[in-house]
Subunit: 231 residues, 2 copies
Amino acid sequence: MATAATPPPTTAASELNIDIPTNQPLFTRIRLAANPDVPVIHKMIYQMAAFDQRLADQCSATLFSKDNPFESFTVFLIEVSTKPFPSPSTTHHPKFTPIHKTLNVHPPVSDPELETFKSSTMEDEVFVAGFVLFFPNYTMSVAKPGFYIQDLFLRESYRRMGLGKMLLAAVARQAVAMGYGRVEWVVLDWNTNAIKFYEEMGAYVVKEWMVYRLIGDGLQAYAATNDLEKE
Amino acid sequence: MATAATPPPTTAASELNIDIPTNQPLFTRIRLAANPDVPVIHKMIYQMAAFDQRLADQCSATLFSKDNPFESFTVFLIEVSTKPFPSPSTTHHPKFTPIHKTLNVHPPVSDPELETFKSSTMEDEVFVAGFVLFFPNYTMSVAKPGFYIQDLFLRESYRRMGLGKMLLAAVARQAVAMGYGRVEWVVLDWNTNAIKFYEEMGAYVVKEWMVYRLIGDGLQAYAATNDLEKE
């Protein structure tokens, strides 16, 4: 999966800031993203190393099936607040109940981009910290579908406090809840920290597999190949 | 992608056979699979090395969205006949026009399992030779979806005559027709023939990527992890 890289230095040093010392609880929530979240997701994608300019205009047009969130690509957002989240949640979806967790021990948090990442839910003092993007995958040789995790991202201020684990576990839990058989993702082979983490959580590398890709001109050319000349 | 392994020896030596010498045309067609094709697809899956018994009962229940074939998992069947296919095709789907090709030069074909693989279309003398299974995949860092090819299979009698290329090209063509940006699949790193073929077609290996997987007990355990204890 694409994971966090160091974001470009922010120029908004004069913006609102949040500073949460370790002895103050940090309230977190994982919920389904919906179309009003697209602008904030875009901003996080800008912070990912792999960002591709062509994305910006197109992804908003294709986002989020409200009725069937897990049948196509799906985003879980993880949000944080210094105040407890309202209960029952205003962001409940019939197919996914938001997950709440209170972090009582965590590194000190300093977030200079707070206002930029306000939650679209309009709840007071709720801010988006990261997301995970996944979608179902299928094989005829295994009975059950699985989820494939494409992207996992946490904003710089919210790393190394377990939020990535929470997002992964939320996808695993959703897979189990739906009777799905597996969760898969891709990792860069030099990313030893990530590999250690994945193996500790019980995942294993699918040995001998190489991912092949056909894009751009190669794709166009192959789509037009004589291998498919019509009668 | 899962590819063909040597199938178990057939015990149906007395069944109908087809013998097509190289100087007789072999008519081929690629069409969308639909629910009546499930039994034949099951039989091909039995012939794949990776077959898992648990599949048999479950996959028929979840197969094939008739209205939106390319939004979830999709199967193209490749069929063969010694007679021209009827035109216009009886198997036309609004989102995919079957692809026809006549092979005038091909190895001699001898198919001892002909009756077992009759097409569900009830057309005379039309037989299923193989399939490709694929589904859309997504990333937030690229504007367009792609297709991921999970399984490609040709029955033993129909290999080494270009039908695999036809199936791959059909997926590439569909991706381009839908404005999608890429086609991806996985290959075993020791499968040098396949790798050579993929590189000749313009695909490249996504270096440094390792596929991680969480299944079974590991998945259950992680889904129940304290990392997600609720408030």
